[in-house]
Each structure stands twice: as structure tokens, then as C-alpha cells.
């Protein structure tokens, strides 16, 4: 059975097409989900892609979390549906309180597009199972508001419970606290990542194919279910 992965398009989503390509390459079927529609069409997992939903005009992700489709995504995520938020999708998951913390303007106050090396620290999620503990992967960071923040108590809890999924190996390029690049919820089914694994699936168009693991992982996890 082919896994079906829903990819939400909000007004201003940009990397939905690229994400669909990565899902296809990993052997799953991408299912487009429209922000204004209700229902998840029976998908096995959901990805909120990168972009500038609603122009990021209020606060990144603040409007998208109220989109009709999110009324279905949020309870499904709380019930264990694998959900991955990439970049703007990560911001939306934080705004929706599915993930702890928040993302603010980069420390340098400028948009940064750069290849970054991540160290994978939590491989027990459905999105990261194909990686080895402490494996280093090269993916693309491209964001203006990628600085991850959380209060000290939350950070301590994330560290204690192993919810930090990936860190920037060579220092934080955007001011993210403790070099955090990706986090998971306590159950591990919801993951948010600021860099873009979908832009590292083919050496022709990216820094390599290290990012494909996120999509291959969820396919493997769904087959195991």
C-alpha cells in the first residue's frame, strides 16, 4: 500500500510543490490539501510546507493556524497523526501550540539562504527514523524569521525529554537558542524544522540528498504501523 501524505497549500505557501516532489521521490503519494477546505481525505501524514502564508503580515503562521483545514490537522496531530512543519510550517505549528517555543526574526535581521550542517539528535520520531543518532546531514536553510526561542523551563524540558530533533552543527546561523534547528512534541509525531529537507533530495538541485530521509522515514514508519 502506498502511503498518502497530505501537503497543505495556504495562500502564500511556496514550497508545496517541492515538498510534493520529495514525497513522491520517497515512494509516497502526495495529496494536496487546500487551506479553505475541511477534512484530511484519509491521509496517513500531513506536511505544512514553507513559504509566506498570508504574506507573514501579522506574525509568521499566526493567521494560517486559524485556516479551516487546521481545525482538522490540530486534533489529528494530538491523536498521533504524523505532522511535519517545514520553515513556515514550523512557525504555524508553534502558533497552533502543537510545538513548544516560537520563531522570531533572525539575529542578523536579514534573510539567510545557506547550506547548513545539522546534527540529528532524536531519531525516534516517524520523520527521523531513517537517520542515525548524531548523524550529520547537509540541508538548505532559507528564512528570515528562523530564530528559535523558548523560555528556560521549556528548554530544560525539551532537553530532558529528548525533544530536540536537530541542531546546527557549526553555530546558530540565525540566533536560535542552543543551536536548535528542529523540535518534536513529547509524543514525537509532530516535528517542526526550520531548514528545508525537501531542498536536499537530489545533488542536481541541492547540496546533496541528505534531506530525503525525512520523507523516507515517514514512509517506513507508516508501513510498520
Amino acid at each position: 500500500m502506498t502511503a498518502r501524505v497530505g501537503i497543505v497549500t495556504f495562500p502564500g505557501s511556496l514550497d508545496d510543490r517541492d515538498t510534493a516532489r520529495a514525497v513522491t521521490r520517497a515512494g509516497a503519494e502526495p495529496v494536496p490539501l487546500w487551506h479553505g477546505d475541511r477534512g484530511l481525505h484519509g491521509v496517513d501524514a500531513v506536511i505544512l510546507p514553507g513559504g509566506f502564508s498570508y504574506g507573514d503580515y501579522l506574525r509568521c503562521g499566526a493567521i494560517a493556524r486559524f485556516a479551516p483545514v487546521m481545525a482538522d490537522v490540530i486534533p489529528a496531530a494530538r491523536s498521533g497523526l504524523p505532522v511535519l512543519g517545514i520553515c513556515n510550517g514550523f512557525q504555524i505549528l508553534c502558533e497552533a501550540h502543537l510545538l513548544p517555543g516560537a520563531l522570531i526574526r533572525n539575529a542578523g535581521l536579514r534573510f539567510v539562504d545557506r547550506d547548513v550542517v545539522l546534527r540529528m539528535e532524536h531519531t525516534a520520531t516517524p520523520w527521523t527514523g531513517d537517520y542515525q543518532q548524531d548523524q550529520e546531514i547537509t540541508v538548505v536553510l532559507k528564512s528570515g524569521e528562523g530564530c528559535y526561542l523558548a523560555d528556560p523551563a521549556t528548554l530544560a524540558r525539551l532537553e530532558d525529554r529528548g525533544q530536540i530533533v536537530a541542531r546546527y552543527r557549526d553555530g546558530s546561523p540565525n540566533g536560535s537558542v542552543r543551536e536548535i534547528a528542529a523540535v518534536a512534541n513529547e509524543e514525537g509525531n509532530v516535528v517542526g524544522i526550520m531548514p528545508h529537507p525537501e531542498h536536499a533530495i537530489d545533488p542536481l538541485t541541492g547540496p546533496g540528498a541528505d534531506g530525503l530521509g525525512f520523507f523516507a522515514s515517514v514512509v517506513a514508519a507508516l508501513v510498520r504501523q
Binding site: P11, L14, D18, G36, G51, F52, F111, K142, G144, P203
Partner: protein, 770 residues
């Protein structure tokens, strides 16, 4: 009071009854003769809204009145080709790239707005060119930008440059278009007049081609996208304040404000409308806004149009008809739609949250008529505004000082002779803002979005995958060298063309078509007009020789501060085709690897032997207008490098064939800074060293800027095949040495760690701009 208030409304009836009422045509940038011509065409005085319409349509920006007589050469001398599906005169030219795909691309200036308000000026420059591409029926897939500023350390450059870069970053990133290349250069001549040229490229299937024509009486005219506001009023003309019919001048900003989120929705909405077959004709709203869109659609269709201006949705309800006609509010499009399709059209717009309003319909009268509060305020033959504007043959004269400039040969300048001095000259070039590491700029642009970017800055050209299944792709480069053009505008134009052509070829692509943005001073200065005439003649002749037609372009005059014009700066964009993007050539020298493996491929096997470095082309002592003369001596004089288009064509043939056959692992064109800078760039991009032995005089070999040259890294084992290929094409090939190690080593001259070269280049822009 603005023109729209009921009390001051000027109608066609009133105009006929009050022929002698004074009108502010001069303030709107029209000459006495132009105003008289409007009266003659109409057989009466124009109404205020008509005057507004003609003033923007007949502006230099929209009518090309000073350049038209020259630009005809692009069509008259065009090489015979079957590749053009649409040529000059459309919103953008359309090129057949095979497999049923077509590509459209165009470059446009937004120089003055970017000086006045760098962030919004540059942002809306991107937005405007994207809508041109969209209007052709294509999906915009990438942008590039060609930027020129005053001296890097001048205080005003610190105001303008960061704002321009941030504006491009803000708009392009939010719109979701990868920025795949461009240029950044500095010169005192641009201090009061930066150049901001934006290029967009789009892809479509042949059948998707749209026309800008209003045909079929009864069809509806729909304005969709952002609502019309009081921004950019008269941006195309010299108008900065709209003061019609007397009264207080309502100061309106003439720089537009961009909303990339609305543009993203507009792009997706337009493409869905086209795919659904609901568009009978379409035009973007750019310079001259509603005036231009209605006049050009009506003129293009030849059947007439009536418009109810009250129906135009407004952001500011106080706008009157003249201001509505002149507003350059961004993110708007106009479509011609069959009555039966209007409901489906508006429902697709609603799905994308894009406002859409029927504002008129196509008629059979041959007239463009507009009403306001039920009164006729515009009644003209649309072609008089769109196609029959004034045409000027302005005086052109070679400036007297040109001879002295050309006689000031850089051969007399002191040259470095010793190894350490040659190295010093190289380090000085790499530390100059023109040749420094541009990461500070390019890191602010999203180069990856859409997932099809194969090469981007600092590679010679941006390369995009068009069809992932077949590997079909395109390459794009822009180039222009103001110093060369200042010394000899005819040769300068051909050198700009040759460099862009060579840059595209260096990626392994086959150059097929040309766009251009011609940035010049005032056309009322005979010296500038001579520079312009020589430039167009050079470019048209060059394109004819190379077989690459000009598909469209843009002219920007009045780039000067006081009486001092900028260097004549033609920016030439060349489009190339790659049948298989996996064969593309990066500029980076590679770590040693087996034949056929490319730098970005996972290296699994043992490393192969080192690649050898070959110099292609002929080097002569040519330093006029060179980066060395400028950086080392602040010197600009003599003649630019000789143009040899036959050699350029042969070189491009070698590179394309070698790439397709997998004979090369890297290639890089030689331009500013000559071989020395090119080798440094190849090493830096590949994070590897090289060891070379120079033929002839080391200084000339390192710093001459002779054209039609490139360096190539030959795949191990392919040396003989590559040498035979070069011989077959008549391209001189000189073995220079091998790739490897961590130093750039020039036998008998110097040896420098690549890390030191990187350090010299890296901090230049961050130290200047934060």
C-alpha cells in the same frame, strides 16, 4: 481639488465647448508640439483625463519616442530563426526551447524609484517584470538582478545598496521565485543614479501563449488584483503631483508600494484562469496603469472598448478619473473575458482571494471610451495613444573628448613585474568591491524555492531544470560593462553581448536569444544620443552575427546627475538551452574524481587523477577599461578589448559539445580581472588549489581581458578527445596545469593559499554594509 470631484469634472462635451481653457500639459511632461498634436488628433482640446492618459502613454518610458528609430534595427537585422513564437512588441518575447516548451524572459529598469526609495523601488521592479512574464501566459520561474551603485564606500551607497538588496529579497522571496544570478558593480558615475535592472524568466507550453488584445465585441473587460490607490501616480512621466483644473496640488507619491503576497496570489490565479481557458486577452498593469492596459488592449484588438471608470475598485475613494488613469498601483492585471465565462472567472479569483471587477466591454466602434458618473470623459482612437506617439530623431554627435579618451592608452601605466607584485595585484583585485565575494548579497535571496535551480551565483549563468523527466533546461546570464561602453559604445555593446553569451556557453548551454536593458543619460544630450545609437547598432549587428535574436527589452534614459550622465550601460541578457541539465558545467574546480562524476555527485569510489586545466582562446595585451587599470590606477582610457564574434561562436560550440560528451568537469569564462581572477574564482568555488604555468608575459597572461576566452577543467582521460574537439572548432587550447592541493600556484611567479584568497574576498561587503 483633484480632477475627479464632481464640481471640477472635465468632460468631452465640456472640452468641445471650452477649447481655450488652459491645461497643465507642461507639468505633465508634454511639449508644446506634443500638446498641439493631441489637439489635432482629437479635433478639440483633450479632457483632463485624456491629457493624463496621453501624458503617460507618450512619456519616454512608455512610448520609446527617442529610441524607436534605433530599436527598429533589432527587427530589421534580426537573424532568421524559427525559435521565436513572439518577438519585440509583446509584453515579452517568447522562445521555443523544444519538447513543446517555450520560455519568455525580459529585463527592465527601475532605476529612479530605487534611488528615491531603495526598498520599494527595487521590490516593485521585481513585481513589474514578473507581471510582464505572467501576461504572456507563462509561469514565472526565476528572477535575476543587475545592480550598479556609486563607490562602495560612499555614504549614499550605504543608504541605497542595502535597501535595494532588501527590497529584492523581500519581494522575490515572498513571491517564491528563486534568484539565480545577476551582477553587482560599483563606479562613481552611478553615485547619484544607481541602476537596478530586474529580469524574470517564465516557462509555458506552446499552447499557453496569451495575446494582449481586446477582441470580440461584447466581451467583458475585467480588472483584477489589488485595488487602485494613489501610489505611483505619473511614475512613468515626470509628474510628481496631480493638479488638474487648478486648486490645491494633491501630493501623490510617485514611487509604488509592493505587496508580494498579493502578487503570489495573482500569479496562481492567472495561471489557473489561463489553464481553464477563460482568458481571451490579457495585459499586466505596469507603467501608466489603466491608461496603458486599456489603450494597448484596445489598440491590439482593433475593435474598441468602453470603460466605466467608476467601477475601478479604489483604496482611496477620493481618486478622480485622471488619477485612476495614471496610478501605478502594483499587483493588477486586466483580462478580456467572454460573457459566458465571467462567472467562472470571478469564482476562480474568489478562490484565490483576488478581487475581480468588470469595468467595461469590448465594442465595435474602434474607439476607447470612458465614463465617470455617467459622463463621457475619454473618447479617443486607442492607437493614437498606444502606437502613434511622437517619434524623435534627436541630434547625436560623437563627443569631442572621445578621441582623447581613446588615446589615453593604459600601456603607459606602471605594471607589476615581480612575483610578489603580481600576487599583490591579484589580491587587490579580489579585495575590490566589484570582484569581492558577493555572498552578503546573494545569501539574502532564496535561490532554492521551486526546487529546479541547478546553478546560481557565483556560477557563470543561472541554470534551471524545466522538465525533470527529460532533463531539458535553460541557462541565463546578464552582463554589461560600463567602462568598455564608455570607451567605445559600439564595441561595448558587443562585448556585453559576448560576455553573456560566453557565460551561458560556459555552463554547457546553447545560447539562443537576447533581451536587453539600455541604461543611458539624457537623450537630449547629443553625446548620449550618439552613445545610444552606437550601442544599438553594435548590439543589433552582434545579434545578427551570433544568430541570437533580440526578443525584447527596455530603454532607460535620463540616468544622470546634473549634466553628467552615467557610463552608457547596456545590460544584455542571454538565454541558452541545455538538452540535459545533468551535463551542466559548474565553475568550481573539482576535487580529483573519476571521469563523468560531477562535483555535486556523491563520490563513492576512489578518487581519480587530477583534472587538467586548459585555457581556451587567444590572449593579447588588452587592458583598456580593464579591472586592473581601474583598481590599480583608477584609470579609464584606451580601447576596450577587441571583439571577435566568430571566436565567441566557436568557443561556445566547443563548450556545448564538450559538456554534452562529458569531457569537462568545470568551465569559467574570462572577463573582469582576466585569467588571474578566473583561476582564483574556480579554486575558491571548488575549495581546491591548482598549479599552472603561464604562456608568454606573466602580467599580460594574468590580467589582460581579451574576449572569447575561458578556462576549462578537463576530465581525466578526456584530454585527447577535448584537444581534438578544440582543433575541429578552430579554438586555440593551451595547457596550463592541473587542479589540486590547497594553493594557487603560478610557476615562477607566486604561490598563495586558497584560504588567503578567500579571506581577502570574504569580508569586503560585510565590512562595508554590516
Amino acid at each position: 481639488m483633484s480632477a475627479g470631484t464632481a464640481a471640477g469634472l472635465d468632460t468631452v462635451a465640456l472640452a468641445a465647448a471650452t477649447p481655450d481653457r488652459p491645461q497643465p500639459y507642461a507639468e505633465l511632461g508634454l511639449t508644446d508640439a506634443e500638446y498641439a498634436r493631441i489637439r489635432q488628433l482629437l479635433g478639440r482640446r483633450p479632457t483632463d483625463p485624456e491629457l493624463a492618459l496621453y501624458s503617460v502613454m507618450w512619456s519616454e518610458h512608455c512610448s520609446y519616442k527617442s529610441s524607436k528609430i534605433y530599436l527598429r534595427q533589432f527587427a530589421d537585422k534580426a537573424p532568421r530563426t524559427t525559435a521565436l513564437l513572439a518577438g519585440i512588441g509583446h509584453n515579452a518575447g517568447v522562445v521555443d526551447i523544444g519538447q513543446g516548451y517555450a520560455v519568455t524572459f525580459k529585463i527592465e529598469s527601475h532605476n529612479h524609484p530605487s534611488y528615491v526609495e531603495p526598498f520599494q523601488g527595487a521590490a516593485t521592479g521585481v513585481g513589474g517584470i514578473v507581471r510582464d512574464i505572467l501576461a504572456m501566459g507563462a509561469r514565472p520561474v526565476a528572477v535575476m538582478d543587475s545592480l550598479r551603485f556609486g563607490p562602495a564606500d560612499a555614504p549614499d551607497t550605504a543608504r541605497v545598496l542595502p535597501g535595494v538588496v532588501a527590497g529584492i529579497s523581500f519581494y522575490g522571496n515572498c513571491l517564491g521565485l528563486p534568484n539565480i544570478g545577476g551582477e553587482l558593480a560599483f563606479d562613481p558615475c552611478y553615485a547619484g543614479n544607481p541602476l537596478v535592472n530586474a529580469l524574470c524568466v517564465g516557462v509555458m507550453r506552446h499552447a499557453d501563449l496569451q495575446v494582449a488584445a481586446a477582441r470580440g465585441p461584447g466581451n467583458k473587460v475585467i480588472l483584477f488584483g489589488a485595488r487602485t490607490g494613489p501610489d505611483g501616480i505619473g511614475g512613468a512621466s515626470v509628474l510628481a503631483s496631480a493638479s488638474f483644473g487648478g486648486g490645491d496640488a494633491a501630493k501623490r507619491p510617485s514611487v509604488q508600494v509592493g505587496d508580494p503576497f498579493m502578487e503570489k496570489l495573482l500569479v496562481e490565479c492567472c495561471l489557473e484562469l489561463s489553464a481553464a481557458g477563460l482568458v481571451a486577452g490579457i495585459q499586466d498593469l505596469g507603467a501608466a496603469g489603466v491608461s496603458c492596459a486599456t489603450a494597448e488592449l484596445a489598440a491590439g484588438g482593433g475593435s474598441g472598448m468602453s470603460v466605466t471608470l467608476d467601477s475601478v475598485p479604489l483604496r482611496d475613494p477620493s481618486l478622480g478619473p485622471a488619477e485612476i488613469l495614471m496610478s501605478e498601483s502594483q499587483e493588477r492585471m486586466m483580462a478580456i473575458v467572454a460573457p459566458a465565462d465571467v462567472a467562472r472567472f470571478t469564482s476562480i479569483c474568489a478562490r484565490w482571494d483576488v478581487p475581480a471587477t468588470v469595468i467595461g466591454e469590448v465594442t465595435g466602434t474602434g474607439r476607447l471610451e470612458m465614463t465617470w458618473h455617467g459622463e463621457v470623459v475619454v473618447d479617443i482612437a486607442p492607437e493614437t495613444a498606444a502606437d502613434q506617439g511622437p517619434v524623435y530623431d534627436r541630434p547625436a554627435a560623437r563627443p569631442a573628448a572621445q578621441d582623447a579618451l581613446q588615446a589615453d592608452d593604459p600601456a603607459a601605466l606602471p605594471r607589476p613585474g615581480s612575483g610578489p607584485d603580481l600576487l599583490g595585484a591579484l589580491l587587490a583585485l579580489l579585495a575590490s568591491p566589484d570582484l569581492a565575494d558577493k555572498t552578503w548579497v546573494t545569501e539574502q535571496y532564496d535561490r532554492h524555492v521551486r526546487g529546479d535551480t541547478v546553478l546560481a551565483t557565483p556560477d557563470d549563468a543561472g541554470v534551471l531544470q524545466v522538465d525533470p523527466d527529460t532533463g531539458l533546461g535553460v541557462a541565463l546570464a546578464t552582463d554589461g560593462n560600463g567602462r568598455y561602453s564608455r570607451l567605445d559604445p559600439y564595441a561595448g555593446a558587443q562585448l556585453a553581448l559576448a560576455e553573456a553569451y560566453r557565460n551561458v556557453a560556459a555552463t554547457g548551454a546553447r545560447p539562443v536569444a537576447v533581451t536587453n536593458c539600455l541604461n543611458f543619460g539624457s537623450p537630449e544630450d547629443p553625446s548620449v544620443m550618439w552613445q545610444f545609437a552606437e550601442t544599438v547598432r553594435g548590439l543589433a549587428d552582434g545579434c545578427a552575427f551570433l544568430g541570437t535574436p533580440v526578443t525584447g527589452g527596455n530603454v532607460s534614459f535620463y540616468n544622470q546627475t546634473g549634466d553628467v550622465p552615467v557610463h552608457p550601460t547596456p545590460v544584455v541578457g542571454v538565454l541558452g538551452v541545455l538538452d540535459n541539465v545533468r551535463c551542466r558545467l559548474p565553475l568550481a574546480f573539482s576535487q580529483p574524481r573519476a571521469r563523468g562524476q560531477r562535483p555535486s555527485d556523491a563520490v563513492t569510489g576512489p578518487f581519480g587523477p587530477a583534472g587538467s586545466i586548459v585555457l581556451l582562446g587567444t590572449t593579447a595585451p588588452e587592458l583598456g577599461g580593464s579591472a586592473w587599470a581601474w583598481v590599480a590606477h583608477g584609470h579609464l582610457g584606451g580601447r576596450p578589448p577587441a571583439v571577435d564574434l566568430a571566436a565567441e561562436r566557436a568557443l561556445a560550440g566547443v563548450l556545448a559539445a564538450a559538456a554534452a560528451d562529458g569531457l569537462l568537469t568545470a568551465a569559467h569564462d574570462l572577463s573582469d580581472g582576466g585569467l588571474a581572477v578566473a583561476l582564483a574564482e574556480c579554486c575558491l568555488a571548488g575549495r581546491t588549489g591548482c598549479r599552472v604555468t603561464l604562456p608568454g608575459d606573466p602580467f599580460t597572461a594574468l590580467f589582460s581581458e581579451s574576449s572569447a576566452r575561458a578556462v576549462a577543467e578537463v576530465a581525466p582521460g578526456a584530454e585527447a578527445a577535448f584537444a581534438a574537439l578544440c582543433a575541429r572548432h578552430g579554438v586555440p587550447a593551451t595547457d596550463l596545469g592541473t587542479v589540486g592541493g590547497d594553493r594557487l600556484e603560478v610557476t615562477g611567479c607566486f604561490s598563495v593559499p586558497v584560504a588567503e584568497l578567500a579571506a581577502v574576498r570574504r569580508r569586503v561587503l560585510p565590512d562595508l554594509f554590516g
